[in-house]
């Protein structure tokens, strides 16, 4: 039984992992775009972006999942996603990507704004272009500063993927619950914690490694 459950949960965990990786792939760059928007000197860009960040960070991710999945059907009378597993996964992915991009954008913004203005001015008086100053001077310093808060957020994402269960994405929690119905056993649900724990352990090691790699300066 243990073997059977372990293998079954591995299948569920792969969906969890897929959701996690794809969310990062979208949200990491999207967050940078949003952070530039929230720092824009143009009010017509800055205020709407800040409003979106406020809404996304100010409401539960679970509600956002439900809204994105059921919203089109309720509001437009059009079941955009289809009812199958792929449709549900896609809806979940979009909800996660938007939600996490907004959180990442605030981390990026904090990192970028923490770089002393003297770094930009030094680049300028040395005749560097603005893009060169960002890429060659500021970027690595920003990365160094945001690794700790980003690792926090990314570890939270691993666990938040379980929320996708509310729109019936077959991630690991959902997967474990079928054993309650079919075999009347609850330990597989608790056992999922081990998967999260091991995976987050690996991520923690990875972030420690990156932090160490960047500890050569400042």
């Amino acid at each position: 039984m243990f073997r059977e459950v372990t293998i079954s949960l591995l299948g569920g965990f792969l969906i969890t992992l897929k959701l996690f990786v794809l969310t990062l792939v979208i949200a990491l760059p999207l967050g940078l775009v949003i952070s530039f928007g929230s720092m824009s000197r143009i009010p017509v860009i800055r205020y709407p972006v800040k409003f979106i960040i406020w809404v996304v960070r100010g409401t539960p991710l679970m509600l956002q999942l439900i809204l994105i999945f059921f919203g089109p059907g309720i509001i437009l009378g059009n079941q955009l996603w289809g009812g199958d597993a792929d449709g549900r996964f896609l809806a979940a992915l979009i909800a996660f990507a938007i939600n996490y991009a907004c959180y990442f954008s605030e981390i990026y913004r904090g990192g970028i704004q923490s770089i002393p203005v003297g770094q930009y001015e030094a680049g300028k008086v040395l005749g560097m272009k603005n893009g060169e100053i960002f890429r060659k001077v500021v970027l690595l310093q920003v990365i160094k500063r945001i690794v700790p808060p980003m690792s926090n957020e990314i570890i939270t994402l691993v666990k938040d993927t379980s929320l996708a269960r509310v729109i019936a994405v077959y991630e690991i929690i959902w997967d474990s619950q079928k054993f309650i119905k079919t075999d009347g056993i609850i330990w597989p649900l608790l056992y999922t914690g081990v998967y999260y724990l091991v995976f987050n352990g690996i991520l923690t090691l990875l972030f420690n490694f990156i932090e160490k790699k960047l500890s050569y300066f400042e």
Binding site: G118, K124, V125, G127, V137, L140
Partner: protein
């Protein structure tokens, strides 16, 4: 014809007038020191010369080329500002070295980018120059250290080498020793003295009065955004004519 001619420069931040009607000139190979209390506009003046602030009016000329003309309403393009500000170099009070680069990489970064922009590979030449500059600064054994591994005095000397690597016509110093522990100021003042002996054209904002007097041919005393007195450095600092200059200098035991 003077190398640098600054005429009637004005600058206000909001309602506060920080510079009013600043005019002075500088000959090639000459060093001029600017003294005055904090808030007198010395730093803003250097920042205007380096295009970090835009003056509200007046003109700045280098070698007969008008770099800034306040009566010209046309806004300069980013490219044009980049080109014009390279007539000046600026050494900051807080060094502002790039922490992720070694001393020599700090010196080489901007020249390398400039060479790449011009479509040339001059890496060997740039490295040789950087080594020579750091050697002149007495840092030949510190080239591969990161700024965080260097003392403040060493960092400031790297910053001077970094500014010199672009061969500015005029090198500006903004209180180069103010952020340093007293025992480290000597090494920085020494290299600036050597630059003066080699006829580097310099504008030095400083609170070190004896240094201001000895290193520069001429001195400017600023107060409340205006030039109160300018002339021969020894005369201005040892025998000031203006009452305000006397008061200011009396607060220093030279």
């Amino acid at each position: 014809m003077a190398l640098l001619e600054v005429n009637n420069i004005r600058k206000s931040f909001g309602k506060t007038e920080v510079l009013s009607d600043i005019s002075f000139s500088l000959e090639e190979g000459e060093a001029i020191s600017i003294i005055g209390s904090s808030g007198s506009g010395k730093t803003t003046l250097l920042r205007c010369l380096n295009f970090l602030e835009r003056p509200d009016g007046g003109t700045i000329r280098v070698r007969d080329e008008v770099l800034f003309d306040g009566s010209d309403p046309k806004r300069l393009s980013e490219e044009e500002i980049r080109r014009r500000r390279l007539h000046f170099g600026l050494v900051f009070q807080n060094f502002n070295l790039f922490p992720q680069y070694t001393a020599i990489d700090n010196v080489m970064l901007a020249p390398k980018l400039a060479a790449r922009e011009a479509g040339k590979n001059r890496d060997d030449e740039i490295r040789k120059q950087a080594e020579e500059l750091l050697d002149t600064m007495g840092l030949s054994n510190r080239m591969n250290n990161y700024p965080g591994q260097l003392s403040g005095g060493q960092q400031q000397r790297v910053a001077i080498a970094r500014a010199l690597a672009l061969h500015p016509d005029i090198l500006c110093f903004d209180e180069p020793t103010s952020a340093l522990d007293p025992e480290l100021t000597g090494e920085v003042l020494r290299v600036i003295r050597e630059l003066a002996e080699n006829r580097t054209t310099m504008i030095i904002v400083t609170h070190e009065m004896s240094f201001a007097r000895d290193v520069a041919e001429r001195a400017i005393f600023m107060d409340g955004g205006v030039i109160v007195e300018q002339g021969d450095a020894k005369q201005v600092i040892d025998h000031p004519r203006e009452e305000r200059t006397k008061q200011f200098l009396a607060s220093y035991q030279k």
